[in-house]
Symmetry: C2
Subunit: 462 residues, 2 copies
């Protein structure tokens, strides 16, 4: 299928028609209009509704047939039985892409749904119009301020380089809200819905070419055949990292229970094998999906497994140490000159070997800076975890290492867990993150896990 070639226009339209646009908040077409108009989209928005002259102050046209200019993207939010007619009008008009929000197709119990969907399939096969959906909340191209969805709040997303492609709209919402509250930027969000003619392979192909996207995050529940996905991913392997979260283990087991062959594990293993072959990095929670995507989008990959842990207090260093070793990382043995430099900077009351306890240097920011620098420059160190919990006495510590983090900027991967009560270090941490100096996680284990993701991914793509 060469549908992916047409996806560029769908995600970068000049003129967008909203079929089923409405001024009634009880209609999804109302929320779609709000998303487009309030999201800062600079192209032309054309509401279509046979019963209105204007919608949200924008002149409305009754239907596609009555509109003279070309349409790049049609967002469709009308009852299912009306959709085939609209698709035919889109074909006649040479619309370049469709986002089909309407539900009531293959996903419903009633056989009329599947029947409706096969009618649509026939039309789009003939016309080669890419369709996102049906039964989707929509798509968002953050960089173009294109919020083609029924949730205006997606427009609050910061521009970034992580794209999400998901079989669940709910997961798209959750991922985006997590990204917002953690100040993570995104490039595109796509709810695939019933995947009429655009699925994971088409989206992967499109996103590999998308200049704004550096990391692909996928959420999937079950595919007819995961090998399609794997083969597409493999064709691009190494170009951009792909992280995937697959759920539905239990659901598949139920469906397969007739055979009593324990095929749930088999199914899960099939996905795991496909992921490995496609160099897709599999994760097991929403938190891990976001964290791994963030890590891959910001951090360099470690050359080896040897990690330095610099910790403002011993406890967090110990828990990070446990997590690192359980995830296949090693605690670096410093070179003699590094250890000598640390011994000069820290009094003998601290643990000065790796993990290094920076506690006694709280009042001596120059020492903390010196230790960080010498560890960064140690060829026996492949990555650094820097962990510090705020205490009044170490308030200045962060400010004194900021310039070093900025200057170093992931020449080796550096991941932090710098935590204070709300409002003290957050602003500085956020600035450093926005400059790409590091990513900051909210527990030592989560930070250490991110480092294991980097190393496991490095081994996978090598």
């Amino acid at each position: 299928m060469a549908i992916h070639r047409h996806l560029g226009a769908l995600f970068n339209p000049d003129t967008v028609a909203v079929i089923g646009a409405s001024d009634n908040p009880g209609k999804l077409g109302f929320h779609v209009m709000k998303s487009l108009t309030q999201g800062g989209f600079t192209g032309r928005i054309v509401p279509m509704n046979p019963g209105a002259k204007k919608i949200m102050g924008i002149p409305s046209v009754p239907s596609i047939d009555g509109f003279q200019d070309p349409i790049d993207l049609a967002i469709v939010a009308v009852p299912a039985p009306l959709v085939p007619g609209i698709f035919e009008a889109c074909e006649k008009k040479s619309v370049k892409g469709i986002v089909l929000i309407s539900a009531g197709f293959k996903e419903i119990d009633d056989p009329s749904g599947a029947q409706q969907q096969s009618i649509l399939e026939r039309i789009v096969r003939r016309a080669t119009i890419p369709v996102i959906g049906p039964n989707t909340f929509g798509v968002v191209n953050v960089h173009r301020n294109l919020n083609a969805s029924f949730t205006p709040e997606f427009s609050r997303l910061k521009k970034g380089n992580i794209a999400l492609v998901s079989q669940s709209g709910g997961i798209c919402h959750l991922f985006a809200f997590m990204a917002m509250s953690q100040n993570v930027g995104m490039s595109e969000i796509v709810g695939l819905g019933n995947r009429l003619n655009v699925g994971f392979p088409e989206m992967i192909t499109h996103l590999m070419e998308d200049p704004e996207t550096e990391v692909l995050a996928l959420y999937l529940e079950g595919l007819e055949d995961p090998r399609d996905l794997m083969e597409t991913a493999r064709a691009f392997r190494g170009r951009k990292p792909i992280v995937a979260y697959k759920t539905g283990r239990t659901r598949n087991r139920d469906q397969a229970s007739i055979s009593h062959t324990g095929s749930a594990a088999g199914d899960h293993e099939l996905y795991e094998a496909s992921f490995r072959q496609g160099r897709i990095f599999g994760v097991d929670s929403m938190e891990a999906l976001l964290d791994a995507a963030r890590a891959f989008s910001v951090c360099s990959l470690p050359k080896g497994p040897r990690i330095a842990i610099l910790s403002g207090q011993a406890g967090p260093g110990i828990s990070a140490h446990d997590t690192c070793e359980m995830g296949g990382l090693e605690i670096a043995r410093f070179q003699p000159q590094t250890q000598r430099a640390i011994n000069e900077l820290l009094p003998p009351i601290a643990l000065r070997t790796n993990p290094v306890d920076l506690g006694p240097a709280w009042y001596n920011s120059a020492a903390i800076r010196g230790i960080l620098k010498t560890v960064m420059e140690d060829d026996h160190v492949d990555g650094i975890l820097l962990l510090m919990m705020f205490a009044s006495a170490n308030r200045e510590a962060l400010e004194n290492i900021s310039s070093l983090l900025l200057e170093w900027k992931q020449r080796k991967p550096i991941i932090t867990c710098l935590i204070s009560p709300p409002g003290i270090w957050d602003g500085q941490v956020r600035e450093l993150e926005m400059a790409g100096a590091m990513i900051n996680l909210d527990t030592p284990e989560r930070a250490a896990k991110c480092m294991t993701y980097l190393w496991q991914y490095k081994k996978m793509v090598n």
Copy 2:
């Protein structure tokens, strides 16, 4: 040791002396004074420093000997060599408890540290004064506004019923900051430091009697003998839940590496066995420590493993389903009358069996309320997970079920994952949490895990 009988006075003092109080921000005695004075403590604060007349505006006395009135708690932040003399003065004065912040004892490499500590041990054995520390950041009794620590920001904590006892001060800071940002209240925080004569057994005994504490969270790295802890916990088993996070697997392995017997696993297994015997709920991360403590402090325990998942979107329901089954929970089969009621409230386009997809009821809050009510009343349901991601169209859904959640108030355990962009649902969710209606977690997996904690704990204490 009957030291625990004296801990009540240490945590509820009327007069607090700060030995080593200072107006110099470079001294820990400065931060301690700030913590006490700004934390709202209503008792008497007596700064002690031979070189000052007033500290932070409060009249200062040169030493304990020169002070006429009784002292309940002495907070000591002076160099280690001065501490034995101060301890003798405390003994003479019949001070009821000491928080010894000073470092430089058993924890340092230099043998003089251990020597200093054994001098202290002799004094306190004779005097039976309970001592928290040395080498601690301090203690906090949130309900008494007593911030006897070098971190004034602990005073921002909300009053609640979770107490933390930790071998690491860094972990105390992290836990408290996590609690602050998640709006979780606490009762007491204790950094044990080198455990001169107060360790986990003494603190557990004290907290079991503390009327403000309902759940005990412990962080430990390694004990001389975990059986002491286990036996104390077992004596109280069932009275109040205890959650424990043990780190230092890898560190213990290094220490034991001479024997080449793989004793790391043995060590970890010894703790696990001790935890089981003491009915201590073991967890494996800071996130789990906080989440389990929160769940035990708010939620009722499920009578059985049968869980209902009500999800505003299918995806989050599926991931929660996976997590539940992996954690030993079962997906409830509704009673026929429950299923009939749901079938009447939801159109056939949705998944109406458990997990229930509430998607089609977004515009019909009465239906969501009705479904929640009928599921709550189903005797085949032992606990409920309610998951909903905000979308403009379901904005009102939360408001319409709030009264039901408040009314029900954990008659059966109910855990939610109600997530919106910052500033939309947060306020409502927070109010419901503060009223004890439920706890809200930020991913479906984390919510489902909390339900597994409740069930696993229920099985452990039965």
